[in-house]
């Protein structure tokens, strides 16, 4: 490996802009620097994957069950509205 140049992104910076990256909110030049860093840094690849995992695990897997009494009340309102 060669020494980092001043133009290179540091891992410390990567973790602060990872959301901008995932949101597609980076200027093209910054995105290129990010991709360049990522291509050579397995640790930051792992970090990015962890962030994707966080998003996936946070997501609600199934629809919530609506309590029957709530549903019954809403259906009554719907019937009233129909009239």
């Amino acid at each position: 490996m060669t020494d980092p140049t001043t133009d290179d992104l540091e891992c410390r910076e990567v973790v602060e802009v990872v959301t901008d990256y995932l949101e597609g909110a980076m200027a093209p030049g910054d995105r290129l620097r990010f991709d360049d860093h990522l291509a050579l840094c397995e640790d930051c690849q792992a970090y990015l994957e962890q962030m994707r995992t966080v998003i996936r695990v946070a997501g609600r897997p199934v629809a919530d069950a609506v309590p029957p009494e709530t549903m019954a009340g809403l259906l009554r309102a719907f019937r009233d509205w129909r009239r």
């Binding site: 540091e10 973790v15 949101e23 640790d43 970090y47 962890q50 966080v54 946070a58 629809a63």
Partner: protein, 222 residues
């Protein structure tokens, strides 16, 4: 994955559902309630911060939905339209209860945030590789999927979300728990895109740290 900036227009499925609703089709209404009641409740919660009040807001919002159904023009998805009604009512209710909107202070967005990762995990200044990982994250690629998606892991993530500052919690709840777009989230919470993104970043970074700690602790002796 980049978030679309514009709100989604009404889909063909929505148009059909809308037509059935207007005809008074109860199955269509039941379907709508099942799909939207949970998201409505969680949106109301981030505004009013109290379960009982949030349930009243949602009840009230459903009345509003029915009252306005005939006038809905389909310029947004049915879900966005319904959630907008919830957000408006929740905001009004929060003001009436003299409760500051949880995210109106924006959680000190003007202040520099805490670093996403503990500074000591990077090599210090003066080191040849300063700013690069000293204690790198480990890949979660070897964590079994059933473990990542287990009730315990999900509960840990939920706990971490609960502990966030209100504005961060509101944004991550709508974005990652509910899967809303950035544009929807900005509209429903009254945030600019930039602020939404900063809050999302802080929230996700905190939750990642919690999940990392949890996985590391429980992987010991594996």
């Amino acid at each position: 994955m980049s978030a679309p900036v514009t709100g989604s227009a009404i889909s063909a499925d929505d148009l059909e559902l809308l037509a059935r609703l207007r005809r008074g089709d109860e199955a269509a209404f039941t379907q709508l309630v099942e799909r939207l009641h949970g998201p409505m409740l969680r949106l109301a919660m981030v505004h009013v911060g109290n379960r009982a009040v949030a349930e009243e807001v949602v009840q009230d919002a459903w009345v509003g939905v029915l009252a306005q159904l005939g006038r809905f023009e389909g310029r947004s998805s049915l879900r966005t339209w319904v959630l907008r009604i919830v957000a408006n009512r929740a905001r009004t209710r929060a003001v009436r209860e003299r409760r500051t909107l949880p995210f109106s202070s924006l959680d000190g967005l003007d202040e520099p945030g805490r670093p996403a990762v503990e500074p000591e995990r990077f090599l210090p200044a003066g080191h040849r590789w300063a700013g690069h990982w000293a204690s790198p994250p480990r890949s979660w690629g070897d964590v079994p999927e059933e473990r990542l998606l287990s009730a315990e892991t999900r509960a840990e993530v939920e706990r971490a979300v609960e502990l966030l500052a209100p504005a961060q919690r509101a944004v991550i709840t709508l974005r990652d728990v509910e899967g809303m777009t950035a544009a929807e989230t900005c509209e429903l919470l009254g945030l600019t895109e930039g602020n939404q993104r900063v809050l999302l970043h802080r929230a996700r970074s905190r939750v990642r740290r919690a999940l990392e700690r949890y996985l590391d602790e429980t992987e010991v002796g594996r």
